[in-house]
């Protein structure tokens, strides 16, 4: 009787325990089920919304651009490079007290508080999230601003520690050498796109890739994970320019242009053995870091973009073609006759008369002799040589907006076109084309394509591409040697005596041409383009230098007067730096009592004045008398132009100093001038 209740009680307890257990399980299952349902609901139906919200809270996407590639010179000196800068901006929606904020910010970055307050207020009202306050600040300024804007007890991961203020990383293009080689380098705009020069032509190589950074941040805004999108690093461009040579060239050119009061000037230095352009200078130029002050004309690279009539320097082509055809020899005689020649009804005149050698004819820049030589060569061969020398087509230099020049097809030539072209008219060239032609002669007749980019490298130094200029034998080595000999005579006894160097031999040719005015479609006898192109040393040339002056105003204004001294200054400055051995003991005639004219001996001021007035009178007068209108572009203008034009001031000056004019003899009595006087009289 006693055992039964015990059994029943045990049975009941088990039942109760089981029931309770099941109840708990049921509750647990229901709870889990509820959670599961909720989870399914959240993760399936509200997936996108939640994901976006989570990412928005945690992740921040930052877009930036890699720093633009650097432009180096041939000695790996940076000519243009980019640096990081920061722009301070405000997010007005994050600022509670706009007035206080405006006051604090204005104090820190030194801007007008009222204007800033107005900006922030308007921004807050319109919901703007970006208001630039201070643009492109350097690191030192950034640190100062951060210090000034530090707010205590503000939980903000990024600097500046001020609510609503942020830094935006940007880049700034810097040109460490200022205006040096500015026309070659060009510049890039605020969007990092090249606008001129190398910056424009090599924009795809230099431009940094757009980078997207995805940053995961914790609740305090600290970045704990970062993913950067794949990108290729920008490349660096290495130029053939030597910044030291470029500087010397620009210095000499600027001085030359100022002295001659010329409108502008350009100078090119080429290593003709490699085709490397060591310097390409323009004056006036501009400062790429201060573009606001740059004038439109100053930005253009005139050495490759400006077309001009070369004048007598083009006689190089005339004599090249004649020598190549074995029609002449430097010592061979040529008769200038009475100093006039009639070609197809056009009368060319010159003050050089009688028989002389071809070398003398080139040295004294006789137009009649050059015309006769050109006529002997004939149209097809002359045109062929013009083309071979690279005129009428782009040189292929890696710079934008290069012009091909103007060379008409022989079919469109007039009766006197060959004669005109023989003395450098009826043709349009660029300074680089002309320099390249002289470089060809200096390099034994082998033409190397002029280039300005030496290499393109990865940022780790790996060379991607290197310059491999085309080589063309334009004239034979013998022809080139003969021409060099003739060009040497120009510097020794001819129109280019001011190009004699200190310690080095040199050779070259002067050129003075009337400018063609496209507005009036006529040549202007008062406006010249004066040039000197030459190389040094004479025997084994190391460099070719071209100097072109546009509209010189002072003195005789011819190439020998205004451009040859610049050539000398450049060559004297850079040849020792290139470790070129000196090959000359005597530099120039030194003015002493024995060669000073009696009437001015003892007066140093007068002596100096005469030195300035001396030389190149022949060339100047030859242009005054014979130079034909630059009619390459328009034949109508040529027809309207009288054969004998009004004498330019240069000729008047020549009359004053020339012995034949009956005036007191004012030229220095060196041998050349004495001979010259005899010849003329």
């Amino acid at each position: 009787m006693k055992k039964k209740p015990i059994k029943n009680k045990k049975k009941d307890l088990r039942q109760v325990a089981f029931t309770r257990f099941m109840l708990i399980v049921a509750i647990f299952v229901l709870w889990m089920g509820g959670i599961g349902v909720r989870l399914v609901h959240l993760q399936v139906s509200q997936h996108n919304w939640l994901r976006e919200r989570a990412l928005d809270q945690r992740q921040e996407v930052k877009k930036s651009r890699l720093l633009r590639g650097t432009i180096y010179d041939r000695n790996e000196r940076a000519l243009a490079m980019s640096v990081n800068v920061k722009t301070l901006y405000a997010d007005p929606t994050e600022i509670e007290e706009v007035e206080t904020a405006a006051r604090d910010i204005a104090k820190a970055v030194k801007v007008d508080a009222n204007a800033l307050h107005k900006q922030l207020k308007e921004g807050k009202e319109s919901g703007k999230r970006f208001i630039a306050i201070a643009k492109k600040l350097d690191e030192t300024t950034v640190q100062k601003v951060n210090k000034a804007l530090q707010t205590a007890n503000l939980k903000k991961a990024d600097l500046p520690g001020y609510a609503g203020l942020h830094w935006k990383e940007e880049q700034k293009r810097s040109y460490p050498n200022g205006p040096l080689a500015a026309n070659v380098l060009g510049f890039s705009n605020a969007d990092d796109v090249g606008q001129a020069g190398i910056e424009q032509s090599q924009n795809n190589i230099l431009r940094g890739a757009d980078v997207q950074k995805v940053q995961d941040r914790d609740r305090l805004g600290r970045v704990y994970d970062e993913t950067v999108s794949d990108h290729g690093l920008p490349k660096d461009v290495y130029l053939t320019i030597d910044n030291s040579i470029q500087y010397q060239t620009e210095l000499a050119l600027a001085e030359g242009v100022r002295n001659a009061k010329a409108k502008s000037g350009m100078a090119i230095v080429i290593d003709q053995r490699t085709g490397d352009i060591l310097a390409m200078a323009n004056y006036p130029s501009f400062d790429p870091e201060n573009l606001a002050s740059a004038k439109g004309e100053a930005v253009a690279d005139r050495a490759i973009q400006t077309v001009y009539s070369p004048g007598s320097v083009f006689k190089l082509v005339t004599y090249s073609s004649a020598l190549e055809k074995n029609l002449i020899t430097p010592e061979g005689p040529v008769d200038a006759g009475n100093g006039t020649i009639d070609v197809a009804g056009h009368k060319f005149s010159d003050h050089h008369t009688g028989v002389m050698s071809y070398a003398e004819a080139l040295a004294h820049s006789s137009n009649i002799c050059a015309i006769k030589t050109g006529m002997r060569v004939g149209k097809p061969d002359f045109y062929s040589m013009v083309q071979k020398m690279g005129f009428g087509r782009k040189t292929g230099i890696e710079l934008p907006a290069e012009t091909a020049g103007i060379v008409r097809n022989p079919d469109r030539w007039n009766g006197d076109s060959l004669a005109s072209m023989s003395i450098g008219y009826e043709i349009g060239v660029t300074a680089l084309q002309m320099a390249s032609a002289f470089a060809t002669i200096a390099n034994d007749g082998v033409k190397l394509q002029p280039h300005i980019i030496k290499e393109i490298r990865q940022q780790d130094g790996t060379v991607i591409s290197a310059a491999q200029p085309d080589r063309t034998q334009v004239v034979s080595a013998e022809t080139a040697r003969s021409l060099r000999k003739m060009l040497r005579q120009v510097v020794l006894t001819g129109t280019g005596r001011r190009a004699q160097l200190d310690g080095y031999t040199s050779a070259g040719k002067t050129g003075t041409a009337w400018k063609f005015d496209p507005k009036t479609k006529r040549v202007e006898s008062s406006k010249y383009v004066s040039s000197f192109i030459g190389f040094a040393p004479y025997e084994n040339p190391a460099i070719t230098i071209a100097v072109v002056m546009d509209e010189p105003q002072v003195g005789a204004r011819d190439g020998g007067m205004v451009s040859a001294p610049v050539f000398k200054q450049i060559a004297d400055a850079i040849l020792p730096g290139l470790n070129v051995a000196r090959d000359r003991a005597v530099v120039r005639e030194t003015l002493t009592a024995e060669n000073l004219p009696e009437e001015i001996a003892g007066d140093p001021v007068e002596a100096k004045k005469i030195l300035i007035e001396d030389t190149d009178t022949e060339e100047r007068s030859s242009f005054a008398r014979t130079a034909k209108p630059a009619k390459g572009e328009d034949r109508t203008s040529e027809k309207n132009e009288p054969v004998k034009k009004a004498e330019p001031p240069a000729k008047r000056q020549e009359k004053e100093i020339h012995p034949a004019a009956g005036k007191p003899k004012l030229v220095i009595k060196n041998k050349s001038s004495t001979e010259k006087g005899k010849q003329k009289t």
């Binding site: 050498n177 040096l180 970062e226 030291s244 530099v587 030194t590 002493t592 050349s672």
Partner: protein
């Protein structure tokens, strides 16, 4: 009689077994729970340490970027300082001018000589004096001897070498 003790012993064994099993289950559950908790603890610790490392890594990366930017700024400053124009300014500031190690000798030379002049690198270079120095009346009147000029030039060049000025 013999069956009863069997009946009595069976429940005792099963009870003791049940007690043993219960204890073992409890211990196993505890171990599993402990492992689970430890796992969660380690996972949590790893998660937070990963976050911490991530933050440190990010700071270091930022520092690296800043150092790179600073390096670039310094490079730019160096390039500015080494630009020819700046060097020229600095040289002028300390009154340093170019000096030539070649003795300056002036002598008269005619054009005919120049035409005949052949390359002679070893010969001392003669520099022109006309443009840079106006001819003094006294010298021109008395027809200066080349020897005197040469001596004077040598003295000048010696002096310039000593003072590192030209």
């Amino acid at each position: 009689m013999s069956q009863q003790p069997r009946r009595q012993t069976k429940p005792r064994r099963s009870e003791s077994r049940r007690q043993g099993i219960s204890w073992k289950y409890s211990a196993l559950t505890l171990v599993c729970g402990a492992i689970l908790v430890t796992g969660f603890f380690f996972a949590g610790k790893l998660h937070f340490s990963s976050m911490d490392y991530g933050i440190r890594n990010s700071r270091l990366r930022k520092q690296l970027d800043e150092m790179e930017a600073e390096k670039r700024r310094l490079l730019l400053s160096r390039e500015i300082s080494l630009s020819p124009a700046e060097l020229m300014k600095a040289a002028r500031k300390i009154e340093f001018s170019q000096s030539s190690d070649i003795p300056e000798v002036a002598r008269a030379a005619t054009t005919a000589e120049m035409v005949k002049a052949k390359p002679a690198p070893s010969v001392a270079v003669v520099q022109k004096t006309v443009i840079s120095k106006p001819v003094e009346p006294a010298k021109t009147a008395s027809a200066p001897k080349p020897v005197n000029v040469e001596k004077q030039a040598k003295q000048e060049s010696k002096g310039s070498n000593k003072k590192v000025k030209s």
